[in-house]
């Protein structure tokens, strides 16, 4: 598992990367009431805003962690966005393929992320 400074987690399984937000991020956001997911098949570039999250407090964005293409989204979140607050590690947002897999090597591992949020 890898982590970004945007508080996303990335799980690479045979070239398909599953992306969600960390428990730390979910706690900071508070009760999540709305999630807008990208279209499957969308070509995305690193840093592009592709997910909108609305909590009881405010709206925020999730950016694409890598260049690539969205291959699947977690439709369950659209109907029940509170799943992210219940278990952020299980409630993935989208899956993607990437043209720049080597960039994951430079991302934080779990220990580095823990240090980052302290």
């Amino acid at each position: 598992m890898k982590y970004t400074e945007e508080h996303e987690w990335l799980d690479n399984s045979d070239g398909v990367i599953t992306v969600g937000i960390t428990e730390h991020a979910a706690t900071q956001l508070g009760d999540i009431v709305f999630i807008e997911l990208p279209d499957v098949g969308r070509e995305v570039t690193k840093g592009e805003e592709i997910v909108v999250i609305e909590s009881v407090k405010a709206a925020s964005d999730i950016t694409s962690p890598l260049d690539g293409e969205i291959t699947e989204v977690n439709e369950a979140l659209a109907d029940n966005p509170g799943l992210v607050n219940e278990d952020a590690e299980a409630a993935w947002f989208f899956k993607m393929t990437t043209t720049t897999p080597e960039e994951m090597d430079d991302m934080m591992d779990e220990d580095a992320y823990k240090e980052f949020i302290e």
Binding site: G30, V56, A59, A78, P81
Partner: protein, 373 residues
């Protein structure tokens, strides 16, 4: 004249908020708890189901003394103050000369004085307006009393456990009650759409009193976040957003607050700032009005979202002034201003991040109040 930036003022219960895990934010010049460990959603639902305790000590408690105070106050407010009986409270509006609203407030007749509870962010300006408008009266903002709100279906049981007479009060009654040698100024009112009380307590005894209330198993501390979603569902305007110097009482849907005696043909007709415009709008209607708004999707429409008549093109016809997720409604809710001819059921389109999403004009409130009348 310039003013130095100052740190937010700490409330009398600051240490208790910290102990209870309150997340403090600056609000209306004060350091206020936005939420506790339960979170905004949980705190909102707890208040609707049991009882929530809110620290609203940032609000201004303005005491007005002197002969003829009710008549004099009617020169500033468009409401019936003279007819307000001792031991009763009513909603009022501090008016500006052009018919805009300087603040909304509660005024209580407490026998030998009137007590006005005004918004925290406006209290200093309000004091200037009232003192200027009532130069022959003694008008002061109390510094030595905290203000707590206890709201929800268990509020009566919680407060009556400490002060049994509280159970005898009905909606908008005000009384002075004794708790353990401490003088409480209690009103049966609130800002959540639930039964409950607002209680003024001397600063020196505020923490002990709050702890005594929280000792009841049904009572929990509630932050500003849930206070906002509760009042939004209850259809109550927030001064500074839904009600401003640029909105008139009639536009804001608050014509009900202006009693017959102050209207055209009444015994004490007009005589308040902006009366010409307000009385004309009461008779003929305003061009825009504050309404409820129900976004059709799940995306909340927040303050500032522009409203359009059509899915594409055209200029905005209105604006969202408050909006978010309504935990008791289970869906996004909002309020805002639309043209006066927009009937309930009209579909408009709110611009959310560049997309026009459908939103239906709805009746207020979204949550039916449960007052003990």
């Amino acid at each position: 004249m310039t003013t130095e930036p100052t740190d937010p003022i700490k409330l009398p219960l600051d240490a208790l908020h910290a102990e209870l895990g309150g997340k403090m934010v600056p609000f209306a010049g004060h350091s206020m708890p936005v939420q506790y460990a339960m979170g905004v959603m949980g705190e909102h639902l707890h208040t609707r189901e049991k009882a929530g305790l809110f620290d609203v000590s940032h609000m201004g408690q303005m005491v007005i003394r002197g002969e003829g105070r009710a008549e004099a106050l009617e020169r500033l407010l468009p409401i019936d103050v003279v007819g307000l009986k001792e031991g009763r409270q009513r909603y009022g509006l501090l008016m500006l000369p052009d018919g805009g609203v300087a603040d909304d407030l509660m005024v209580a007749n407490r026998g030998d004085h009137l007590l006005m509870v005004v918004n925290g962010a406006m209290k200093c300006l309000d004091l200037e307006i009232v003192q200027a408008g009532m130069p022959d009266h003694d008008v002061t903002l109390l510094e030595d009393r905290a203000l707590l709100a206890l709201q929800g279906p268990s509020a009566e049981a919680v407060l009556a456990g400490l002060v049994p007479e509280a159970a005898e009060m009905r909606f908008m009654d005000v009384r002075t009650l004794d708790w353990d040698g401490t003088e409480l100024w209690v009103s049966r009112s609130g800002y959540t759409g639930e039964d409950g009380y607002e209680i003024s307590v001397p600063v020196a005894r505020a923490e002990a009193f709050a702890r005594a209330l929280l000792a009841h198993e049904d009572a929990a501390p509630i932050g500003l976040g849930a206070r906002d979603s509760l009042r939004l569902e209850a259809g109550m305007p927030l001064y500074g957003q839904d009600l401003t110097a640029e909105t008139t009482p009639v536009e804001a849907g608050l014509g009900w607050a202006i009693q017959k005696v102050r209207r055209t043909g009444g015994a004490r007709e007009g005589g308040f700032p902006g009366a010409d415009r307000v009385l004309a709008e009461l008779a003929e209607g305003a061009t825009r009005k504050r309404v409820g708004l129900r976004p059709q999707g799940r995306a909340p429409m927040r303050t500032g979202v522009a409203l359009y008549a059509d899915e594409t093109g055209g200029d905005p016809v209105g604006e969202v002034t408050s909006g978010g997720f309504g935990p008791s409604v289970g869906a996004p809710v909002a309020m805002g201003y639309v043209p006066a001819d927009c009937a309930v059921g009209t579909v408009l389109y709110g611009d959310v991040r560049g997309k026009r999403l459908p939103v239906t004009v709805a009746d207020l409130p979204f949550h039916t109040p449960r007052y003990k009348r």
